[in-house]
């Protein structure tokens, strides 16, 4: 479903033909919905190549990658190995001065939504590159663009925008109904994203 098709459905929901809401109102709200759904569910996954920086421990992925939301994995192209995720506590158990340890990058520790520490840090400037797999923010939609959301969950944007339009008219009861549908579908989509990738395998979530 393209953005314009979605806008037409929403106009039917709220019985508006450009009278109460301009096309720009609807399109802006669709973009808002798309931004929020993509960020909260992590439905768009991308990869990029970054260089290891000599003597740098903390990488600001929020600045290095323009649409970075959260990290999935890092691949060291020099050693041909994945970096393992680890916690700060475990790094402190390795050594209490792990931040200045030089060597082959083997572990990464996500500090918050943008900073990631890499242990160990290379001491040479041309060590190599890393492939960063991450969840990305939403792109900007145009009229004929299709949101990158699974088709079975395509109505999630419709729910959000309809609720948004109704709340602007202070129709709280009606807006709440659509909002509740949106939140419920959001949870389902998030579960779908977490489980869909390799259904034949068992995922074990371990927090260190």
């Amino acid at each position: 479903m393209t953005r314009d098709e979605l806008a037409a459905r929403i106009n039917r929901n709220i019985n508006s033909s450009g009278v109460f809401y301009t096309p720009n109102d609807i399109n802006d709200s669709i973009q808002d919905a798309y931004d929020e759904v993509v960020a909260l569910t992590g439905v768009i996954e991308k990869a990029t190549t970054l260089s290891f920086t000599a003597n740098l421990t903390y990488y600001d992925f929020g600045a290095l990658i323009s649409d970075f939301v959260s990290l999935i994995a890092i691949w060291n192209t020099t050693t041909k190995r994945w970096l393992f995720p680890i916690s700060e506590r475990k790094l402190d158990q390795f050594r209490d001065n792990w931040e200045i340890a030089n060597g082959t990058p083997e572990y990464f520790y996500p500090v918050n939504f943008r900073y990631v520490a890499i242990y160990k840090k290379p001491s040479v400037s041309d060590y190599g590159n890393m492939y960063v797999f991450y969840r990305a923010a939403a792109d900007t939609l145009t009229g004929g663009a299709t949101p990158k959301i699974p088709v079975e969950y395509a109505d999630i944007l419709e729910h959000y925008v309809t609720a948004d339009m109704l709340e602007q008219q202070r129709e709280w009861v009606k807006a709440t109904d659509y909002q509740n549908e949106y939140v419920e579908t959001l949870g389902q989509l998030k579960t779908h994203v977490m489980q869909h990738r390799i259904p034949a395998r068992i995922h074990t979530l371990v927090r260190g």
Binding site: D32, D35, E36, V38, A39, L40, T53, N55, L56, T57, Y58, Y59, D60, G62, V69, S70, L71, F84, P85, I86, S87, E88, D92, D96, N97, E99, I100, Y109, P110, V111, N112, F113, R114, Y115, K121, A137, A138, E167, R170, W172, V173, A175, T176, Q179, V183, L186, I198, A200, R201, I202, H203, T204, L205, V206, R207, G208
Partner: protein, 255 residues
């Protein structure tokens, strides 16, 4: 206009404070300028909570003030400079070991109060909300020349303090959640005030929206560390029971 732009802007500012109050998400590090024989340093008001302190790369152990007093009972006495016998002005930031030498009797104590050397511990000093105290007292100057990189090269040469901080024009909430979350908070407050424009249904609606957005962002911010260990199985969930072991029949001992 029911709500002025200035009022709404103040609500947006409140929203930022509320979001950073609910979850620590803005990470910040800096190299602190160290002065020889100065043990107490005042942190900036932007600091919400100290996360980690390192001295030339080595982790300093956080302790409570009570534990600091056990390590060195002399720290019970708040530092003073100038005068003798307790007179003089109070300056909590400067520790002068010469003031407490063997020839000067201060409040009944004699001898040097504190060890001077490479800090091993730090604590939040009780004479100020954002005062941090190193123990032992640093015995060297580490000046700042400007351009220190607290995320890389400066870690091995400086004292680096990591913290959770408040937002400002440079350190902001992530773009994908900032605007809508602040809007929900501001509207929930605006519709709740007494007078023209009050709508408690609207206030409750936007408060619910704000709460769920915060919870989702919390799951993004705090759930960044997910150690997935993939394993190949037959596609069935493992049965969680004890390991397989031979079991003798119940009637084994019966004749």
């Amino acid at each position: 206009m029911i709500f002025s732009n200035e009022y709404l802007q103040s609500l947006f500012d409140d929203a930022e404070a509320e979001i950073t109050n609910r979850l620590n998400c803005i990470y910040y590090r800096w190299a602190e300028e160290i002065n020889e024989n100065q043990s107490i340093y005042i942190l900036d008001t932007l600091v919400r909570g100290v996360k980690r302190v390192t001295w030339k790369g080595k982790l300093l152990i956080p302790i409570s003030f009570q534990e600091l007093c056990i390590l060195n009972p002399a720290f019970v006495i708040l530092q003073e400079v100038g005068g003798t016998g307790g007179s003089g002005y109070f300056d909590p930031t400067y520790f002068d070991p010469a003031y407490f030498d063997t020839t000067t009797d201060v409040s009944g104590f004699t001898g040097n109060l504190g060890a001077v050397g490479t800090p091993l511990y730090y604590c939040l000093y009780p004479n100020g909300y954002r005062n941090i105290c190193f123990y032992p007292t640093p015995g060297e100057d580490i000046p700042l020349t400007g351009g220190e990189d607290p995320y890389g090269a400066a870690i091995s040469t400086h004292c680096i303090i990591s913290c959770w901080r408040n937002t400002d024009t440079t350190y902001t909430l992530p773009e994908y959640m900032e605007r809508r979350t602040k809007k929900a908070y501001a509207l929930s407050k605006a519709f709740a005030i007494e007078g023209k424009g009050q709508d408690l249904n609207a206030s409750r609606y936007y408060k619910a929206k704000f709460d769920y957005l915060i919870e989702y962002f919390k799951s993004i911010n705090e759930g960044v560390f997910v150690a997935k260990q993939y394993q190949l199985t037959g596609g069935q969930y493992p049965v969680r029971s004890r390991l397989a072991a031979p079991v003798l029949p119940a009637s084994f001992t019966e004749i």
